[in-house]
């Protein structure tokens, strides 16, 4: 059992939680993730990235978006409650090296896994240009965290409600056209965004890392549900990744595989809401009025 130490609502559906996990906090490296399960007997194991960790306090920070039954249930929990299972840190850590200038792109909730990688790259002495993208102003997360780490920060929203009215690929292209061009790009976000970031950097031959969040059960290499095609090979995201060369990932296949359980997920989601209702909005409103 791992206790929830704090909880913050970053936007309507995005939550930040600090969880008690001393071993994970001290062992985790940038790029790694955890598997979490809310209930013991019938719970689902979901992979979530580690946004931050505090080894002294023995805590890790996760940021998640309500998208289905398990994240809904997680969002209902409060400080003092516990999650049934927390496994990690999993995956191969980011290979942090000093390359010069790195352009880091985070889309939506993808800014969360990007954060520790940028921390590592910054600490290694790289110049950091960060691009944060979101649909609308309300969905821009971790702006302050990223600003503190970045030599340059570009924010864009699809609807222009904050920063530039643009998709992240627009400023990314501009950065690639600069002289000298960036030495490395890191793009994390929705699969479609990562796909187009990789397409944007390809003509400029800027090496581009992406971090994949595929369907997993165990997270230790045992199920193979997370497999993706990278170049000519099948790779397991949980043990070979989650980071891969974005120019080699077959994103179209990955996007199709992510939809494998859409129907069942929707049904489970509906059943859960029928049974539990959604107390969350009422709860949060109560808190605000306190």
């Amino acid at each position: 059992m791992h206790k929830i130490l704090s909880k913050e609502r970053l936007s309507e559906n995005v939550f930040l939680m600090r969880l008690e996990a001393p071993l994970i906090a001290s062992e985790r490296r940038p790029g790694q993730f955890i598997i979490l399960s809310v209930e013991e007997d019938f719970g689902e194991r979901i992979p979530l990235t580690i946004a931050d960790a505090d080894p002294d306090a023995g805590s890790i920070t996760i940021i998640f978006q309500r998208v289905g039954r398990t994240t809904d249930a997680l969002a209902e929990l409060n400080p003092g409650d516990s999650v049934a299972a927390l496994l990690g840190p999993l995956g191969t850590p980011t290979h942090i090296e000093t390359v010069g200038t790195v352009v880091c792109v985070g889309g939506g909730i993808g800014v969360a896994p990007l954060h520790p990688i940028v921390q590592g790259l910054k600490a290694a002495g790289n110049k950091i240009i960060t691009i944060i993208g979101a649909r609308t102003k309300e969905l821009v997360i971790l702006e302050d965290w990223m600003r503190a780490l970045s030599d340059e920060l570009i924010i864009c929203t699809d609807d222009g409600s904050y920063g530039r009215k643009a998709l992240v690929t627009e400023p990314l292209k501009e950065v690639c056209e600069r002289s000298p061009k960036p030495d490395l790009a890191v793009a994390i976000g929705p699969p479609v965004m990562m796909k187009f970031c990789a397409e944007t950097t390809r003509p400029y031959a800027v090496r581009t890392l992406v971090s994949l969040n595929t369907i997993m059960v165990d997270g230790t290499g045992m199920c193979g549900g997370c497999r993706v095609t990278v170049g000519d090979e099948t790779k397991f995201v949980c043990v070979d990744g989650p980071e891969f060369d974005g120019h080699k990932v077959d994103f179209d296949e990955m996007i199709k595989r992510l939809g494998a359980y859409k129907k069942q997920e929707q049904q489970a989601h509906d059943r859960w809401h029928e049974k539990h209702g959604c107390h969350l909005d009422a709860q949060i409103d109560d808190k605000r009025s306190e």
Partner: protein, 497 residues
Amino acid sequence: MTHATPEQLQAAAQAALDDILSRGEPLTPKDRMRIPPQDMPAQHPHVRRGNIHEVALGYSEAQARLEAARCLNCKTKPCVEGCPVRIDIPGFVTAIAAGEFAKAAAIIKQNSLLPAVCGRVCPQESQCQAPCTVGKSLKDVEKAVAIGRLERFAADWEREQGQIDIPAVKPETGKKVAVIGSGPASLVVAADVRREGHAVTIYEAFHKFGGVMLYGIPEFRLPKSIVHEEVQTLKKMGVDLVPNFVVGRTRKLKDLIDKDGYDTAFVGTGAGLPRFMGIEGENCVGVFSANEYLTRANLMRAYDKERAATPIFSSRRVAVLGGGNVAMDAARTALRLGAEEVHLIYRRTEKEMPARIEEVAHAKEEGVIFHTLVNAKRVMGDDYGCVQAIELLEYELGAPDDSGRRRPVVIPGSEYTMAMDTVIVAIGNDSNPLIEQTTPEITTNKWGNIIADESGKTSMDKVFAGGDIVLGAATVILAMGQGRTAAASINSMLAAS
């Protein structure tokens, strides 16, 4: 296999047993050979394919005593030679024949920690029952004394009486042993080492203990309550069990020894990396490793669609690739989850199938459609990347290969397709790379299996290993045997230090 009801089987056995007992004189070998082999009572195929409960229901007392009476008590004990952990088989079978069931269980437990498990999942027809004199005389290995069913009977009887005794633990020695993984090899090491008074901690990556017995082997073949009971016994012995802890990642193996004060560690992490065919279309939506499919269904309980949060693919037409126990488990699970048709695809003939005879028979009775001497050539997907069909290629048997089995040879131009929406790949597992990746001190072979000597010792100081991580994908009983050997080495090492 029979479809006679358990009541019918019991009545027939009771009458035959009463007849034998009323004679009041010892049975001659001829008498024994005349006793009919006792069929295992089972749920009716039409009923059981709609539920997840155990298929084989177990012998009644009369059936067990009658089956045990078929044993000739050969002086040479060929059955013991066939048992990887050398259980005194004639000893326990004789006890069952005499109605001394507690004694039978005690005899088995001298050599095997998990008789209720092994009685159910061991490949007896290629181990203890293969050289059985009765089977040989009747020229049919399936007519050998049903040693496995008798083992199961004794173990179940003991458990149902609530008479499982907790093994005695010697006074605490102050020594600490870490056991990595909680499958059959690890459970045996934990028990054997704890008995000597050493502190034992089991680290398991999943949220529940039992390894392959829990995530892999389905409820209908091995009820989870049995595994749970074994784990409870370890708890009562004072073994510390830590879930959600992946050694190598949560903590390095080296740190457990150098920093956390463990005097030694045993690695029993199993063969956890599923093998795929390497064919076109294998990453289509609807293609699963048997590991994934079975883990969702078993450990995550996706069969309980109302309660489980973990989804499982809804399938109508399923192809399962492979001919081992895992392939049978996957095929039969798919039926239970509501598939209309399940096709088992195997590139050799039924004779070469590594699965237990009983599992093959059960699968067929339940309606799994067998296709032998064929193999998948490619998976064909639709515009959405979902499985639409599978292209198959026919084979014939050629000369024997290294394993002694006749090698399947492709028949050129024999391709044909079958419509499918699901493909489950059950062609085996490679070793899990996590320990290898995170523990440079441990030497592995080219397949990633940890190299251990006959005592179970690895190349890393104070570290032992056993089970599938050493053997490659093998059986529960072989893993247990390795666990027992490693535990003996650990105990003598700790006694000397």
